[in-house]
Symmetry: C2
Subunit: 491 residues, 2 copies
């Protein structure tokens, strides 16, 4: 496919200058419209290039309002980045609403390199990338992927020219040389990439890159073209979202509730509790050091009814850990900056360093619980969240992290008692508000949401653990044993 394309299309300097000015003006207008409509835009540049890409980018950036974009040059991942899931450094660079992220190289860089080097799988796959792009597109991000292509001759000419440029960075020179030597391997890797990842919501835009003037103008024209068409889609019917087949929720057909089957009468004697607790803590303390030594990150997700006992469990479990190597991440209402990104963005940001344990006090499941019940997310948003969450958790687990999810379960009567007790104990009063009582009135709606969550997001790689918490003592021991079990399984 790539070899048949005529890469030598040219443009005169004069024609270039005229068009460049006209297109710059149009692009500026579009950028302002995107800001008004609060559409996030991601532009990536891939390709086999002989400096062409850099020059095109340097023609593009000054024609944009610098307050409206961030530019990223994607290099080799750092040691810290290598210990995160592959997509972590791209998720954390996604733009807030109305702004742009522009990247020289992207999430395709490593996968193409892998294909060329044939050094076997490093856990990255096109389905994972496609899920990432789909998730962004469904959240109204516009993705524009440029592929700048250059002929082998052009590459070789460039390498000859560079011999004279003494201070051109050595590492970039070697890069070019390697690309020229393995030109054919790169071409076939790129062909696979283009074929596997061209989609309605994130199409590739092809640019013949031998002549910089021609390529620059083509990039501008394609950019304007795609931006305009996505803008009209945005203004009409949110076409992208409808176009994609959504995960079909069939929960109404579920005849039984998972929660109804939970036996909440289970309890534990006080003495036994004390002994078990000490044993669990000792074991957890030791296992946590093992995780640190083996550089395995762990994520513990705590969800549950209000007053189920999340705080108490967290205090017991963390007292076993070395504070240098764990963090409690409380998840509340997102702030404005978080709201202006994809809802999963803030959770990607909180992925633990290697060997560390992150305990999420509430989590990304807010999307399908409180946001669903309170109408803070649209039906489309929370329905597709099950799949998005599963995909994210799969990325986490595939990258080598331990992921443990708990639903702390109590019944309605037990919750009423605990709320009352809080109201009556002076130093606990701040913990109970009108809102808690209001949420309680929606118990049934929440129950439907919890049931559907448990059903749709219990996967082989990240199953839910339902913990009976009518007896806090029983619940704590059971939960801590589950954590021990999960840690032991990996060690």
């Amino acid at each position: 496919m790539l070899e048949k394309i005529d890469l030598d299309k040219k443009m005169g300097k004069k024609e270039f200058q005229e068009k460049y000015e006209e297109l710059t003006y149009k692009l500026g207008e579009l950028q302002r419209k995107y800001k008004e409509c609060r559409i996030p835009l991601i532009i990536i540049f891939e390709g086999l290039d002989a400096r062409g890409k850099s020059q095109i980018i340097n023609n593009l950036l000054p024609s944009l309002d610098p307050r409206g974009f961030k530019f990223f040059y994607i290099q080799e991942p750092t040691e810290a980045e290598k210990s995160k899931p592959f997509l972590w450094r791209f998720w954390t660079k996604t733009p807030p609403k109305g702004l742009m992220s522009i990247m020289d190289k992207s999430w395709y860089k490593e996968i193409v390199l892998k294909r060329v080097d044939e050094k076997g799988s490093n856990g990255i796959s096109y389905p994972e990338i496609k899920a990432f792009e789909r998730q962004l597109a469904q959240d109204d991000n516009v993705l524009i992927k440029f592929f700048i292509h250059t002929s082998k001759n052009k590459l070789e000419d460039r390498i000859k020219d560079l011999k004279k440029e003494e201070n051109f960075p050595q590492i970039l020179k070697e890069n070019l040389k390697e690309k020229s030597e393995k030109y054919d391997d790169y071409i076939s890797a790129f062909e696979e990439m283009l074929e596997s990842t061209d989609s309605d919501y994130a199409p590739w835009a092809f640019v013949e890159g031998n002549d910089i003037e021609f390529a620059t103008i083509k990039v501008f024209m394609l950019l304007i073209n795609i931006m305009e068409s996505k803008l009209s889609e945005h203004n009409s019917s949110k076409g992208i979202q409808e176009g994609i087949k959504m995960f079909d929720p069939k929960i109404s057909e579920l005849s039984s509730s998972i929660l109804d089957k939970v036996d909440l009468t289970q309890d534990i004697e006080k003495d036994e509790y004390g002994k078990e607790l000490d044993k669990c803590k000792e074991r957890l303390s030791s296992l946590a050091y093992d995780l640190y030594n083996k550089k395995i990150p762990a994520i513990i997700v705590l969800e549950g009814w209000d007053a189920a006992g999340k705080g108490g469990l967290i205090r017991r479990a963390t007292s076993a850990f070395d504070p240098r190597f764990y963090n409690v991440i409380p998840i509340g209402k997102p702030n404005d900056w978080e709201l202006s990104h994809h809802y999963l963005w803030r959770f990607w940001n909180e992925f633990p360093e290697k060997g560390n344990i992150h305990i999420f006090d509430r989590s990304w499941y807010g999307r399908v619980l409180v946001e669903r019940v309170e109408g803070l997310a649209s039906v489309g948003e929370w329905k597709r969240a099950y799949k998005e969450i599963n995909e994210m958790e799969k990325s986490f687990v595939n990258s080598g992290a331990i992921l443990i999810k708990f639903w702390l379960h109590i019944d309605q009567e037990e919750q009423r008692k605990r709320f009352k007790a809080r109201e009556e104990t002076e130093y606990k009063q701040w913990k109970i508000t009108e809102e808690d009582w209001r949420n309680r009135e929606k118990w049934e709606e929440y129950k439907v949401a919890v049931d559907e969550m448990l059903y749709r997001t219990s996967t082989s790689y990240a199953p839910w653990n339902i913990i009976e918490f009518n007896s806090k003592k029983f619940g704590r021991i059971k939960a801590m044993k589950k954590i021990i079990e999960a840690f032991e399984k990996r060690l």
Copy 2:
């Protein structure tokens, strides 16, 4: 000093449990008050400890609302952190208003290590640290510095115990051993630290650390004590700010204006401009690669009158740079998240990676220009900003960065012409707003502010360059030559 202290104070388990609960309750209340009053709080833990510090921290953290603090374990700086100014990784961890940053080890770690190792200066000094603490305190941050001290015997006991704990991380074991072997050196380094950096606004709180229960209760009591007293200071007269002698502004006594002396008639022929521009670009392009090869970061600050020509200069200068290694940082109104931090926080965050060039389109000087003139900063705030800015720039330069500051100067008549031209050119209309005309009416007030800024922040390490921009062509060439000169000087 340290050797004379009785470190063996003890507390029984029962007394501990009772006090712990009472103090936890008090601390919770105080934390909520700090949140209400939007006071940022920084707590650091230093000391020679035999695991005591970790255990104390693990007693402290669960007694706090996890939504209200972030905990940081300060390790060896990463490669990326090493290339930044020493204080960079601490500035970026300062808390927003109403929240806490708690650190195990802190900015004192490296300086103490340096003293012990005697490996000569690494550019960190106590005055720099004191300036940092003073700046935070003046911005209403409460700083609490704990020094946890342990006897040599206790340290040795701990090392013996650890031999049995196989999975306790090896690196931490070696750390303890090294501390025990060089105990006396550490003691004298710590004594110097305590003496040099004890201040009204950031006092050291000493804790005898041999007995964990005693030490925990003492930490809680000191914390509550200091938090209460700082809270009442905050509620009364903002005592901290008044207590510190402020840099005394004497600008009214300046009889002449720096700006008035600038010769704005200078110009350059069109042909010569074209030639000079090409020469400058070529030289800049080459020098920028040299900076990259030598890993030197560079910061270019652009300030100037509205319509002076910042955008045009940026476009010309950056067209010479490789887009992979530069960034334009446009500085506008701070967002809510930025506003909830010290005003210098967002600029520390934007310090360039090694070998990269950051061009600030407006900068931290907004504090003494627009914020002063428009009354967005209090008189106390903008007056002490001169000193704070000088200190920050000194940190930048001391860490090895190049810092170049430009004031682009035009006269009032030239500005009027350019505003009119913008209004009359269709594709430039978005660039001119009512606000620009309103700002223009305050020309004289701005001029006083600019003059004072030039006077007070032209330092030997970061002088201002006033560039005559009535002729844009003349100005661009002059500015680019200044950049070339500054780069050449360092290479």
